[in-house]
């Protein structure tokens, strides 16, 4: 049976690929559903100790023994059922994710989270239809220990520190005071409503204040998973995003404390003032303790990554394991695990990133994204399944009042808090902002799991609570989640700028930081900038020295940014296919020569040494290049379990890329030369121009280009000849058989008519000195050189 289900799942996926729309998706769901419920039939889920299936297995076994024949094929589903079912769920989640992206129109109307919940409902419905018990998929253990951490780590690791810190006060205000307000407002009024019910003697009267408050504290916290899922799709501006998202992360501490506090005392029945004080202390311990635990593990991770330069393969693992340890350690003491994870991720990131290799960084990025998106998908599906499953007790009054109170308290809370916060904020929150913050307060699976955790015997109303929680979650995710996008459009709330950060912005961000620090110093006012500056200096002076192995990792932020940008563009260049497309979006023809100040040197004719290759020589170079190219490929292919690539290229990854591209270009160039074609000049690539400047030494080159008047193309200086790993081809000028195959560029341009004549008299080169000449020539030969524009000038080669 099991062998049958696997293949049945696959064709479903295959058929889904041609975009046949919703219908096929439903088929897929059906298939998946049918996959799931026979499994449920085969082995009853975790709650139920495996009853009949075990019996069957035993029976089978005894049958085998009685026959005394060797079982050629035996079935032991029970043996694998747990991992198998987990794998099936993950597969379902991934296929769903895949499916939604095949139907772009659907996902533009309905947020993914809603669709996933619907899928969960359907799957749960099928399981129910099959008459099986639905597995308690969203039980608190698996949720808090497996599903939640990846999402939070992803959020923490990629937390935009700057906006987060700049708005920390506001975020804390919303997270702490706002959540407290929500909890007490909803709890109190809910209790009041339960009491006033004239002439309707329902069991709501039995509800006491503390369970009400407990319920309210569960329901009042904004959920990071739901917020992330919705806000990522609406592309709201950075400020609002960090406000809502930061709140959802930091309110965890409040929720944890309130939850434990009320759970503890709802048995006792009363809360004294002392308990209140203890609660406040407990809150501080939970929050700060969580951050401390996270920071410790973060620093440990950073310190460990300092020594991983020889075992690059396991580098990413440290990030994950240390973070998970931080989470578990925090949970162990009932500290805020979420805050620990956030702190851990945020603390380790800058140091780890400086230490690990580029590939490890990519690995971390992808792993985190993969895990968190699968977790998120699973959580929403499970939410749907759990809804079908759960024992519900629907109470119109309770549910309606809860939903209404949640909305009202959120709105009042946000407006009231903003009023206070705006007195201190420089960038005030406008009414629109307040609306989005209030409206973005989505509830999610954390609330459900916390509710699930309640014990039936202490809380007789648990089922009603769960129903109400699910209703609130559904209301926020469906109604608010679906309408927030049109509302954002309608209100014309500022969107996130998609543009990448430019180098000018980076320069001025730094400049502004120093300027404001300086002005603060002049004012004699020790404000934010002053302390930030101090912290930065300590960080640079001591912490970085301890935690970062590589000298280069300690370079100032601006330089690091510059290098990163360079590298990114180089990679894009290569990925875009040999570098004949502009890497950036802007189709600009501006090149370095346009901005170089015209030096007096530019006026006089410049020696522009250009090699003219004789046929034999060219063939020779080509073979050298080809063999080189092949060798790098081979080196890449060689597989080793412990290292990814043969060593020299691992470090100089960018060099490697640029080099590879150069080789390809040179090959092209040679081909062009042979075919006597005049290729169009390639669009200018800023990277390479920048890179050329980076080498810094060849000032004599730039005027040459200016003279030539061609726009610059990918050119030799992009690639620094000083690196050892580079194959350079030495051409000995002194040797007789190497012809003086060099001409002068500008001479050429000046009178193209003289070409034949020039060819006759041979090609000459007039550099200033022997050293200079050799350097220039080797540079030209070792690199592909300014390919296209040179081509244009060399059509007279036979």
């Amino acid at each position: 049976m099991t062998s049958g289900t696997g293949p049945r799942g696959r064709p479903g996926a295959g058929r889904g690929l041609p975009e046949r729309g919703l219908l096929l998706l439903l088929v897929l769901v059906l298939l998946e559903g049918s996959v799931v419920f026979p499994l449920g039939a085969a082995s009853s889920p975790d709650v139920d100790p495996r009853g009949h299936s075990e019996d069957r297995a035993v029976a089978e076994e005894s049958q085998n023994y009685s026959k005394k024949a060797f079982p050629v094929l035996s079935l032991d589903y029970h043996h694998i059922h747990v991992p198998f079912e987990i794998a099936l769920w993950v597969l379902l989640a991934s296929l769903m994710k895949l499916g939604f992206h095949l139907i772009p129109r659907l996902s533009s109307i309905v947020p993914e989270s809603c669709l996933l919940i619907v899928v969960g409902l359907l799957v749960g419905g099928f399981i129910k239809l099959a008459g099986e018990k639905v597995p308690p998929v969203l039980d608190s253990q698996s949720f808090f220990l497996c599903l939640l951490p990846p999402i939070i780590l992803d959020a923490g690791y990629f937390l935009p520190i700057r906006p987060f810190m700049e708005n920390l006060g506001t975020i804390l205000m919303f997270a702490v005071v706002g959540t407290l307000w929500n909890a007490f407002f909803v709890g109190g009024l809910l209790y009041a409503v339960c009491q006033i019910q004239p002439g309707n003697p329902s069991d709501l009267h039995n509800l006491e204040l503390l369970p009400c408050l407990l319920f309210a504290s569960i329901i009042s916290a904004v959920d990071p998973v739901a917020v992330l899922a919705v806000f990522e799709e609406i592309h709201i501006n950075e400020l609002l995003h960090i406000l809502v998202f930061g709140e959802s992360l930091l309110n965890d501490a409040v929720t944890v404390v309130l939850y434990h506090l009320f759970e503890e005392y709802s048995g006792a029945g009363t809360v004294t003032i002392l308990d209140g004080v203890l609660g406040v202390i407990s809150f501080l311990v939970v929050a700060l303790g969580g951050v401390l635990v996270g920071a410790i593990y973060g620093f440990l991770a950073a310190f460990t990554s300092r020594f991983t330069s020889h075992v690059r393969v396991i580098e990413p693992l440290f990030v994950f394991v240390y973070s998970y340890m931080a989470y578990l350690s925090a949970e162990m003491f009932h500290l805020s695990g979420i805050m620990a994870l956030i702190a851990c991720g945020a603390v380790m990131r800058p140091y780890v990133e400086a230490n690990i290799s580029h590939k490890s960084h990519t690995t971390i990025k992808y792993f985190l994204k993969m895990w968190s998106s699968v977790s998120e998908t699973l959580i929403f599906i499970f939410l749907g399944v759990a809804t079908v499953d759960g024992p519900h007790s629907w109470n119109w009054t309770f549910v309606t009042v809860t939903v209404l109170l949640c909305l009202v308290s959120r709105v009042i809370g946000v407006i009231g808090l903003t009023f206070v916060i705006n007195k201190f904020r420089i960038v005030k929150l406008t009414t629109k902002d307040q609306f989005i913050v209030a409206y973005g307060g989505l509830r999610g699976a954390i609330a459900f799991s916390l509710g699930f955790l309640l014990e039936e015997k202490h809380f007789p109303m648990r089922d009603m609570f769960l129903t109400a929680i699910i209703t609130v979650i559904f209301f926020t995710v469906f109604v608010q989640g679906m309408t927030i996008k049109p509302l954002v459009e309608l209100l014309a709330v500022k969107k996130k700028q998609e543009a990448k950060r430019t180098i000018n912005e980076e320069i001025h961000t730094q400049f502004l930081d120093h300027l404001l620090t300086g002005i603060e110093d002049i004012c004699g006012h020790y404000g934010h900038h002053h302390w930030k500056d101090k912290l930065n200096r300590i960080n640079k002076k001591y912490v970085k020295k301890c935690l970062i192995a590589d000298e280069r990792g300690r370079e100032p932020q601006l330089i690091a940014f510059y290098h990163k940008m360079e590298m990114k563009q180089a990679i894009e260049l290569v990925e875009s296919g040999g570098g004949f497309k502009p890497p950036s979006a802007l189709p600009s023809t501006v090149s370095m020569q346009n901005i170089q100040p015209k030096k007096p040197a530019a006026a006089k004719p410049v020696q522009r040494a250009l090699p003219q290759l004789p046929k034999g020589r060219e063939e020779e170079i080509r073979t050298i290049l080809r063999s080189n190219l092949q060798r790098t490929r081979q080196r890449l292919r060689s597989y080793n379990r412990h290292t990814l690539v043969a060593d020299p290229y691992e470090e100089g990854f960018s060099d490697f890329i640029i080099k590879k591209q150069k080789i390809i270009e040179l090959e092209k160039k040679i081909i062009h030369m042979n075919n006597l074609t005049l290729p169009a000049a390639p669009p200018d690539s800023p990277t390479l121009c920048r890179a050329r400047l980076a080498s810094g030494t060849e000032t004599d080159f730039k005027p040459a280009q200016q003279q030539k008047g061609k726009q610059s193309s990918p050119d030799p200086q992009a690639y620094r000849p000083k690196r050892d790993s580079v194959p350079t081809i030495q051409v000995d000028l002194a040797s007789p058989q190497s012809p003086d195959s060099v001409n002068l560029m500008d001479e050429f341009r000046a009178n193209g008519s003289r070409r034949e004549e020039e060819e006759d008299q041979g090609l000459t080169m007039r550099p200033r000195g022997e050293d200079g000449r050799r350097e220039q020539l080797t540079r030209c030969l070792s690199d592909p050189g300014p390919s296209a524009d040179e081509d244009e000038d060399e059509p007279f080669l036979p």
């Binding site: 420089i426 430019t502 300027l515 110093d521 330089i559 802007l586 189709p587 346009n594």
Partner: protein, 244 residues
Amino acid sequence: MEAPFRFDQQTCLCTTPLSVSAYYSAQNTRLEASEKRTKGSKINISLEQIKNLHKRFQQLSGDEDTISKENLESIPTLANNPIRKQIIGAFFDKRNQHRGEAGSCDQIGFEQFLMVMSHFRPPTLKMTAEEKEAMRREKLRFLFNMHDTDNDGTITLVEYRKVVEELLSKSGSIGQEAAEAIADAAMLEVASTNVPTMGPDDFYEGITFEHFEQILKGLEMESRMHIRFLDVDTTTMRCGKSTS
């Protein structure tokens, strides 16, 4: 609290129409006048802030009426600032005094000091879009003037290189090596965003103010370039000077 307030016209080297305040005798009326006048020139700094700043001013100048470059240079916390020279220079730059003059002066009085400080005031919620825009331009102009040292209306490559060099001046030799490359890259970026099609023989002379505005659009200068005057209190004020 009651700091002595002497404002003598004789010692005020930067003659300004604003220095009429010297004729006022009572210190508060004088400060209020200051406030009025600064309000007149669209500077919204409250009296309280002016008082605080004035205290600081006297502290820095050693109870003189004017302040010199040396006074500012001696602030110990400023010593670590990589762009210290430019910051101090900005205070003595006449372009930042709203008087349509160029060049720099050796000493400035309190009102000029206020003028420069006023570039760092935060926007308010009540501001209209135009006011915000004006404020943004004013702040950008301040930055632009800091870069454009020769006051020719453009930031040339040489000037820009200098800026980046200064910015990286505290980071040792790596900084110096990279500075030029970064400045060039940045300049190239400016040129290609603003003048996307350039002939091969064209020459991009430098960043004009319009281009400068264009490239820093994303930074939301009007809200970012500010410090909290309000928090300036007398206890922390001492730290800067007296601990030296």
